[in-house]
């Protein structure tokens, strides 16, 4: 090693030492290993961290892994041991065999660190050695093995951890409970209930009770909400929330217990709903919803501002039902806009069986607010109520509101039109199709149109606003008849490509020779979106003349066009697609490859499975996942080897589960032969 670098490693300034290590990234050779391992034990944490990063990415693993394993046996330097564990964890599976090999010769203290590393790596190959270590003479090794098994998971690990729940060593039982909790493994209530009585095990046992669907678990957890220890009460609340969210067993017991909660308990749950972890917040919201205690409502309402848990809040309030409505209306004014916007659409469901007038009055006020989210939520609620009396308010919101309000008002008017078409028509007919919200007015008018409105829509094709022109095209296509067939093809000459694309889609809907001629020409449009829209529209129009042109478009470098052409050919049922599809498997765009795979699967030609299997090694995870799913659907036994081989190296969880599912479908009895 360069003497300058050696000097940097020996510098008293940690920043110099850290930089020297960082510089070794990608350049380290065999002579650097000793320095890197020494740096893992540096007195400065930044130097250690840098050394972990560089060591773990060291290409020559045969040189570095033994050095890291040896570093575990340095009791004089705890920093070095911890850093070695961390580096081995990053190295991962290649370190498992060397660690297992070294385990028998290690002293008790070193074994503990090696077991910790095996647990962090999480490779099931270590399971049997760790199960054995549960009976190690050294208590710390046993505890580390319990934790490690919890990290690795799996049936064998769970069984081993369950078996030690009955030993007398509380620390081992705690490690086993923690491991089982980490795995989410079920634990028999007869085993775990007594453990909840032991102070040292209480928190972990309560967590485990959250996976014991029974009235007894509900009873223990409900009582533990009163526990003096805040952390125990929180653990009980989280477990109880999980329990009532996952099972109906014990639901009756839970409801009666929760309806009797004291103010203190409701206060605990309210705090948890506001400031707990996501899991705690979800549990607290469930419990507050089930408790239906008035003092818990404010926290529930606040929680609606958190998009991660708002679904739970909605469920809780809907279960609470109409009784919550009056208090909720009061709290809406005091909470954040986001929370209010989430809750307003629930009002119609909560008003079931009650006079809707007060709600409609409130919604009317909200419709006119400047806050786009709130006004949009009010419009949504009016739509759910299909409140004919609010049509004027919706029309005003549609003309004055922000983008979300305009869209929501439009949806609401369309919903009301399904109940009272005439009332909506009265409001919207004759309204000028210009200015703010004009495209939405056009959309609503289209839904309640009569043939005479064709002239209005044709006039709107001359609007300065491209959005209005698009809406007018859609409206004319909905109306159909000569107006549409005459006017829409001209829109393919519009200066805005998005209008041309809308016209192409509309022509596909109305069909006919003139539309098809225009669409065939649009396959050569300058803008890819128009070409793609034309391809799909020709499929909608079932136009056989399009097939040769679409086959050419499959070879387009533009992914959007190639994709649309493939989809159109699939709809048109081009029987001689085979070789073109195989060619498309090499397209640079993953979306095109996926569509080609789907088409190959649909054709069910003899070599389909072999061709699809080629894409199990595609660089894009979504292509691999699609290929696996299709192979499962084809149930061709010859796919099994390819799927199994890919499963061994696949790192993406979604692809792994698609492969596992496909292999499941290929099991004897599920296969399709010939």
């Amino acid at each position: 090693m360069d003497p300058t670098v050696r000097a940097q490693f020996a510098s008293p300034d940690p920043e110099v030492r850290r930089s020297a290590i960082a510089d070794l990234q990608g350049r380290a050779d065999g002579s650097s290993v000793a320095f890197l391992v020494a740096a893992l034990g540096d007195a400065d944490w930044r130097v250690r961290k840098e050394a972990i990063r560089v060591t773990a990415s060291f290409a020559d693993r045969a040189a570095v892994i033994p050095a890291l394993v040896a570093a575990l046996g340095t009791p004089e330097n705890v920093g070095l041991r911890n850093a070695a564990v961390e580096a081995l964890t990053i190295v991962g599976t290649p370190a498992v065999a060397p660690l297992l090999g070294a385990l028998p010769a290690m002293g008790a203290d070193t074994r503990r660190f090696a077991i910790e590393a095996l647990g962090e790596i999480g490779d099931p190959a270590a399971t049997s050695a760790l199960v054995e270590a549960l009976a190690d003479q050294e208590p710390n090794v046993r505890y580390a093995a319990g934790e490690a098994l919890g990290r690795i998971g799996g049936e064998a690990a769970a069984q081993a951890l369950l078996s030690v729940l009955t030993v007398s060593d509380d620390l081992l039982r705690l490690a086993a409970l923690d491991g089982l909790n980490r795995m989410g493994a079920p634990v028999p209530i007869s085993v775990v209930a007594p453990l909840a009585e032991r102070k040292a095990l209480r928190g972990a046992a309560l967590t485990a009770l959250g996976r014991c669907p029974s009235g007894e678990a509900v009873s223990i957890l409900s009582s533990a909400l009163k526990d003096r220890s805040p952390s125990t009460a929180r653990a009980a609340a989280t477990a109880l929330g999980r329990l009532i969210g996952s099972s109906d067993d014990g639901a009756g017991e839970a409801t009666s217990r929760l309806r009797a909660l004291s103010s203190d308990e409701v206060s605990l749950l309210s705090d948890l709903a506001r400031s707990g972890t996501e899991e705690e917040r979800i549990a607290a919201v469930r419990l507050l919803g089930a408790a239906q205690h008035p003092e818990g409502l404010a926290a529930l309402v606040e929680a609606a501002g958190d998009d991660s848990i708002v679904r739970e809040v909605e469920r809780a309030l809907l279960v609470w039902g109409p009784a919550v409505l009056d208090a909720l209306l009061v709290l809406l004014d005091r909470t954040s806009s986001r929370a209010a916007a989430s809750l307003i659409p629930l009002l119609p469901a909560l008003a079931t069986g009650r006079d809707p007038t007060p709600i409609q009055r409130r919604l009317r006020t909200l419709l006119s607010t400047d806050e786009d989210g709130l006004a949009a939520a009010a419009a949504d609620a009016v739509g759910r109520l299909q409140a004919t009396g609010e049509i004027d308010g919706l029309m005003t919101a549609l003309r004055r509101g922000g983008p979300r309000t305009i869209r929501a008002s439009c949806r609401a008017l369309l919903a009301i039109a399904t109940r009272d078409r005439a009332a909506v028509r009265r409001a919207v007919a004759g309204t000028p199709l210009e200015g703010r919200g004009a495209e939405a007015v056009c959309e609503v008018l289209a839904a309640v149109a009569v043939p005479e409105d064709g002239a209005t829509f044709r006039a709107a094709l001359a609007s300065e606003d491209a959005r209005v022109r698009r809406a007018a095209i859609d409206a004319l296509a909905t109306l159909g008849g000569p107006d549409a067939a005459e006017a829409i093809p001209f829109a393919l000459a519009d200066e805005a490509p998005e209008v041309q694309a809308t016209a192409a889609r509309a022509l596909g809907r109305i069909g006919g020779p003139r539309a098809s001629d225009a669409l065939l020409a649009a396959l050569s449009a300058t803008d890819a979106r128009v070409r793609a829209a034309a391809a799909r529209a020709l499929a909608d129009a079932k136009e056989p003349r399009a097939v040769p042109l679409l086959r050419e478009r499959v070879r387009s470098e533009d992914g959007l066009v190639a994709l649309a052409a493939l989809e159109a050919l699939a709809v048109l049922g081009d029987a001689s697609l085979g070789s073109l599809l195989v060619e498309a498997l090499g397209h640079a765009d993953a979306e095109v490859v996926k569509q080609a795979l789907r088409s190959i699967g649909a054709l069910r030609e003899p070599r389909a499975a072999t061709r699809i299997a080629l894409c199990l090694d595609h660089p894009s995870w979504d292509v691999r996942s699609t290929a696996a799913t299709l192979l499962g659907a084809l149930r061709d036994p010859e796919s099994q080897a390819a799927l199994t081989a890919r499963l061994a190296t696949e790192e993406d969880s979604l692809v792994t589960s698609a492969i596992a599912e496909a292999l499941g479908r290929l099991e004897p009895g599920n296969q399709r032969h010939g």
Binding site: S308, V310, R311, R384, E591, D622
Partner: protein, 288 residues
Amino acid sequence: MDDRRPAGPPDPELDLEHFRLIRDLIRAFCGIHFGDDARYLVERRLRDRLDVVGVPDFAEYYRFLRYDTAARSEVEEAVEALTTNETYFFREEYQLRAFRDEILPEVERRNRERKKLVVWSAGCSTGEEVYTIAMMLLESGRCEGWDVRVFGNDINRRVIAQARRGVYGRSAFRATSSERRARFFREEDDGLHVTDRVRGLAHFGHLNLLDEDRIALVGRVDVVFCRNVLIYFDAAARSKALHTLWDRLVPGGWLLLGHAESLINSSTSFEIARLREDLVYRKPETAR
């Protein structure tokens, strides 16, 4: 009016595959990463966008984001919808006290010659943190007559506009005492307005923390608050952001992260500084 079921089709759902495809696009665009557990949040926040761009489901929305000529501006819209996070004044007050009682006196001593103080709230959302820092400065009585600036930036244009407006609803005051409310806000019909004195210290900019060129507009700063921002980044983006923060801080400058964040798993040159109520990071005096 007995039928209160939602009218119209059910809300579109975001399946795992399209969640990941959309997430990957967003990550490539701005480095912000959403874990698998954020699927419902993403679904909820992007649902409105489907209607705005005129597509029926998330599969089509993904294609819009991939292929449409308006894709870039739509990705920006999606990022805006996903990154608007509600916050409140005087959040994590123990850290603000550490700033006021321990960091500020030290910075005042150090800068007394040039009489200038710059604090940066990186990823300031709707501005509550920026105004809170300004209020803490005023409360402390320090740096009177100095050139004091509290700068806030965010990738989200909409929240910056809201921050500049300085008008807040009740939920922003869940941790604000009535004395502070009376001193630093005035109540009007549309909400509580930050007083002009506080606003005078606050400056806002629409800047992406990962845009190295534009972020230089912030200049050199004495203290950075970057709370609950780095958690949204993947490792590469986080490292880049840390480099930017380092670069903008003066030697001896302070970095304050959120209470659940640390640099323990990052390659960094920041030193840990243990204060009475908090553990913060510091650019070494010797660094340049």
